[in-house]
Every structure is written in C-alpha cells, then in structure tokens.
Amino acid sequence: MKILVVEDNERVARFVTRGLRESGHTVEHAANARDGLFMAASEPHDVIVMDRMLPGDIDGLAIIEALRKSGNRTPILILSALNDVDERIRGLRSGGDDYLTKPFAFGELLARVDALGRRSVPGSGERTLQVGDLRMDLLSRRVTRGSRAITLQPREFKLLEYLMRHANQVVTRTMLLEAVWDYNFDPQTNVVDVHISKLRGKLELDSERPLLRTVRNAGYMLCEHE
C-alpha cells in the first residue's frame, strides 16, 4: 500500500515509516501541515496517517476537513496525544476514519492501517463471507465450516464477522473491543483473549486446520492459508 505519514515528531515519524516500510508498504513522509496537505492532495494514497497536533497554523483536523471538502476519500488514521472521548469524537467527526492515542504499539498502528487500507466498503451488498472453508451467511446468520454447522452466540457472531471481514490481517484486542463491544476503555484483564479462545474452540475441532492465529505482541489473525 502507498501510505502518507504526516507527523512532525522526528522520532515517531522514523519509527512509523521504518516499521511500515518493513511491512512492505511504500511510505511518504511530511513533517508539517503544508507539505502534508500538498502531498495528500497532489497524489493518491491508500491510507494517510495524520498527527493531530502539527506545528504551524494548520492542525491535523483542519487538513482532514480540507481534504474531505475537496472530495478526497482516502482513509485517514488520526494519531493524537489527546485521549478524551470528546477529542476522539471530534477527530472522527472531522472526517478521520480511525483514532489512535499516542503512545501506541507499532503492531496496533500497523493493524489499523491494514484494516483501513483494505476495508471492504460497507453496504456493498455482500450476503456471505468466506475464509478458507469457513462460511458465514449474513442474512440467515448461519456459520459453517466445510459441512459442519457452527452455533454461535450473537456476540460471537459479531466477533467472527469482524475477524472474517479483516481476514489475513492482524486485528488487535483494542480494535476488537471497539468494534465488537463498543468499549473504548481498558478492561484490565484479558477478557478479549478468553472470548477468542472460546470462539477458537468452536471454529477448530481437533482434526481441523487452525484458522484463528494469535500474533505475538499484536493480536489475532484469521488466516485463509497455512
């Protein structure tokens, strides 16, 4: 993917661009708001990572608003040191697609960038999701693996749906908390892990190929292939 990183802090910028490059992305970096706006407007990117606080008279949110007004629909991940709920809402309202609070683990950033870059357009009329031999019928809410039917609780269904929509991508625990439970607080214990292991128990019987992989220091991935 081609990613634009607008970040004035040199160390954070280096950390982010290097990490994204190592993950196989093409990365461009702008260190201030003017360059960022210019680069974002002049060529297409798959994802923009935008620092909320930038030096100079334009801040990150203003750039996002300007881009959205000019019809630019590139997914934008906002980075911010502000963790208030209100700030988060303001960020998303200005046209950002996701919000990540500094400091963050790189795995979290990468997972969110991947999710933004490859997200399927909502309401595209899909009726089924398929990952390997796992099939989910969104209308009848039936899940099967091969010929075996899997019974899921409503919340487990939602969890699996999210994982399937982001198949072959790393999905972090916070992403799951936000997307599946709508909680943006830290539940202290590893409750998400327990949900995942329960879901895994239903998805993978002893004889079957593992589908749901745990990615160390990052989260989970639903994999199509070994």
Partner: protein, 458 residues
C-alpha cells in the same frame, strides 16, 4: 495620616458626624426663624395694641383718666411684665411703674429695642413711645431680657450637641478603626502564614457571630477544603511517584543488564519484549489517571443520554462471562426490568466492568459473583456486584476508593489500584455514590444512581 484618611472606618464616621450636624441644623434653623419672626413680631404687635388702647383712654378721659387707668393696671400686673410710664412735658413721672424716664431712650415716636436704664439697671427692652397733646409722654415697654437666657440656652444646647456629636463620632471612629484593624490584622497574619505554605492555620473566630466571624468561618471552611484537596493531590502524586518507580526501576535494570551482559539475540528480544511490557504498565497507569481526570472534570456530563443501566450491566456481564467460566466462577445476573438513568453509557459500562473485574480477581476458583440491577423505593437505580471473596477490611473501606490504594487482600493481584477510584468517580459524576458493604463473606459493592441527579447536578 494618609493611612488615617484612607481608613474606611474613619471615612464612614466623619460622614455620619457631618450628617448629624446637618440634621441638627435642619432642626435649629427653622426653629430660630420661627422664634424671631412669630414671637418677636407678635410681641411688637401686642405692645402697639397696648399703646393704642392707652392713647384711646387719654383721648376719652384725659390725663386724669389715663393716670388712674395706668395706676390700676400697675397695681394688678405681675412685676416686670410690662413697663408703663406716663410723664408730663418735662419727663416728670405722673403714673407708672418707673420712677424716672429711662436714659437711653431715643427721642421721637415709634418703637425701639434699646438698652434702657430701668429701675437703676440697664435692661434690654422693647419700647413704644408716644406723645400726647399737652406734651405728655407715654412709654409702653417689655423687658426682652426675660427671653435672653432661653435663647442663650438654645444656642448653647445647639453648640453642645454639635460638639458632642463630633467628639463621639471621631472617638467612636478611632475606636472602631482600631477594632477593625485588629480583626483584619488577625486575618492578614493567618493568611500570610498560609501563603508561606503552612495550611494548618485557621482564622481566629470569636463566638460573637458578627460579620467578621461569619466571614472567618466561611474562609476557614474554604481553607479546610483547600487543605483536603492539596493533601489529596500530594497523596496522589506521592502514590504516582511510588507506583511508577517500580516498573521504571524494573525497566531500567532490564535495559542496563542488556547493555552490560549483551546476551544472545533470542534472549535480548525476550528482554526487550519484557521492557515494552514494563512501559505498557506505566502507560496503563497514566491512561487510568487521565480517564479519572476526565471524569472528575465533569465534562462528560454534557454527553449524558438516557441509558438503561440494566442493559449496560447485562452487556458487561455477558462480556465477562467467558472469563468467569474459565475460572469456574458461578456468575449470575438479575435485573428487575429497565432501569433508566441519565448518564454516560461507556462510563457506566466501565464502572460495572471494574467492579466485576475486581471481584473476578479476588474470588477463589469456584467462587460466586452476582450482579443485580434494581430500583430502590425512592426511584434510585442500584447496580450491585457481590462476591464471596476475601472482601475489604472495614478499616480499609473508606480508603478503598482513594487513588492507588491497595488493601491487604488485594495485594499480589494484578492491577494498579485505580479501579475503584474510577467507579467512585463515575458514581459521583452521575450524582450518586459507591457503597462498599460486607457480603458476609465477601464484598458487596453497589452504585446508587439517583434518577434525577444527572439533571439537577447540572
């Protein structure tokens, strides 16, 4: 002197003295005017009438008649009331109560107010002099000195009153100022002591309940509050410093060890992962503190909506179910239907989550946790989380919601000691309270959220 002038007590006192004098003047001036105009003019008229009557007697009855009339009147009247004298052309007395024509009486007919020599002594007299055909002179007079003492007394009384007002006013002002200064001085000294950092000082209060006492009591209340807050802040910063030291110390020694021993790559990476985990722990503490600050600021109240506390709790319970199941804990949920409150759904969920999380950490395997949502008789919504774990010692209960407090029973379990602080803050934000009770055995933590509180505390 400058200070004297600037003293508000003196200014006020002078103002009142001037006001008093003005009032006296307003009283005395019309009185004086009335005295002069009414009484004096009246007296003149009476004298003229008298002289006129005597003239008529002379016209009708001649000198003999007038002499008899005057003698009769002098015999009747009270001494000194009226001066009457009839003389012949050479001023020799014919009748009356004066032995001789007084000296100092101007010649000519008319009225004179003069110092006349009556009966041997000079007297302030008002005289009417008439001359009759035949050279006879008539003198009708009235002693004015009778009213002199009265006038003098009036004047002296007036001056006395002004002097009294002035002396009492100025004296009172000086006394009052001294008293005020003493009180203000006391307050100033205390405040200076407080400004120098000793918050234990309190303003002196007498039992008099006057304005100064009321003010002092209010200020003392404010000082109590400030002291409490500052102590809280210093407790929190001490705790933060203390709680952050541990992971930071671990992190430091880990990094230092890495730098000095330079172990093989695999081990190095494991150590780096552990170091990142240390940093994450520190970050966790910071996010919890920031969240607390956000809740405490009350800013979230603007986003209050109608929330069904029962539904929120049910979702959190569902969220924790697998974790409870994994530990073999008997986890139950009861609700008496919808329990609507005005609130922040995310914060309420976090509060319930923290309570369940605490219980889950403290109960033994195969323990029991029950969550109940119900309405009290007064309409308040009650969210209760009860467990059969070790509970919180009675002595620790008041401190349990303090930041970073960890009771003996929770030591050794994971957590940073901010969970109950957040629950408490959320309850307060919603106008409610967090109660920590004994569940015999275990802990019964209940949040009581008044239904109207969210609206009234706005």
């Amino acid at each position: 002197m400058n200070r004297l002038i600037r003293s508000s007590a003196l200014t006020w006192a002078f103002g009142y003295v001037l006001l008093g004098i003005a009032a006296l003047a307003a009283f005395a001036v019309p009185l004086w005017y009335a005295w002069n105009v009414t009484i004096f003019a009246g007296r003149e008229e009476i004298l003229r009438d008298d002289a006129q009557r005597l003239t008529e007697v002379f016209a009708h009855e001649g000198v003999a008649g007038l002499t008899a009339h005057i003698n009769a009147r002098v015999g009747l009247q009270i001494a000194g009331e009226r001066t009457l004298l009839l003389t012949d052309g050479a001023y020799r007395p014919l009748a009356g109560n004066l032995s001789a024509w007084p000296r100092g009486v101007p010649a000519g007919i008319g009225m004179h107010a003069v110092m006349a020599d009556l009966a041997g002594q000079p007297t302030h007299t008002l005289l009417v002099q008439t001359t009759f055909p035949g050279g006879y002179h008539l003198l009708v007079g009235r002693d004015l000195s009778r009213f002199l003492p009265l006038e003098r007394r009036f004047t002296w009384g007036l001056f006395g009153a002004v002097t009294f007002l002035f002396v009492v006013g100025v004296g009172g002002a000086i006394l009052m100022r001294r008293r005020l200064l003493a009180r203000v001085q006391g307050i100033r000294q205390t405040v200076s002591a407080i400004m120098q950092g000793d918050l234990r000082h309190r303003l002196p209060t007498a039992k008099s309940d006057d304005e100064f006492d009321t003010l002092s009591q209010t200020l003392n209340g404010m000082l109590d509050h400030i002291e409490h807050l500052i102590r809280g802040i210093s407790n929190v910063s001490n705790s933060i410093a203390h709680d952050l030291r541990t992971p930071l110390a671990e992190l430091r020694s880990r990094l230092e060890e890495l730098a000095t021993t330079r172990p093989p790559a695999a081990e190095t990476f494991a150590e780096i992962d552990a170091a990142v985990a240390d940093v994450d722990r520190v970050m966790r503490i910071f996010s919890a503190l920031l969240r607390l600050a956000e809740i405490d600021s009350g800013a979230r109240r603007s986003g209050f909506v109608r929330v069904d506390a029962a539904a929120v709790a049910a979702e959190v319970v569902e969220f924790y179910e697998p974790a409870a199941e994994q530990k073999g804990v008997l986890f139950s949920f009861h609700s008496a239907g919808e329990a609507a409150v005005a609130g922040d759904p995310v914060l309420l969920a976090q509060a319930v989550s923290n309570l369940i999380d605490n219980s889950l950490k403290s109960v033994a395997e195969r323990g029991a946790i029950s969550v109940r949502v119900g309405r009290r008789a007064d309409g308040a919504v009650e969210i209760a989380v009860a467990d059969d774990g070790p509970g919180i010692a009675d002595a620790d209960k008041p401190k349990a919601t303090e930041r970073f407090f960890r009771g003996d029973t929770s030591r050794g379990t994971p957590g940073v000691g901010l969970g109950l602080s957040i629950v408490d803050a959320v309850a307060k934000l919603h106008g409610g309270v967090l109660q920590l009770l004994d569940n015999h055995p275990g802990l019964l933590a209940q949040m009581v959220l008044p239904v109207t509180a969210a609206r009234s505390s706005r």
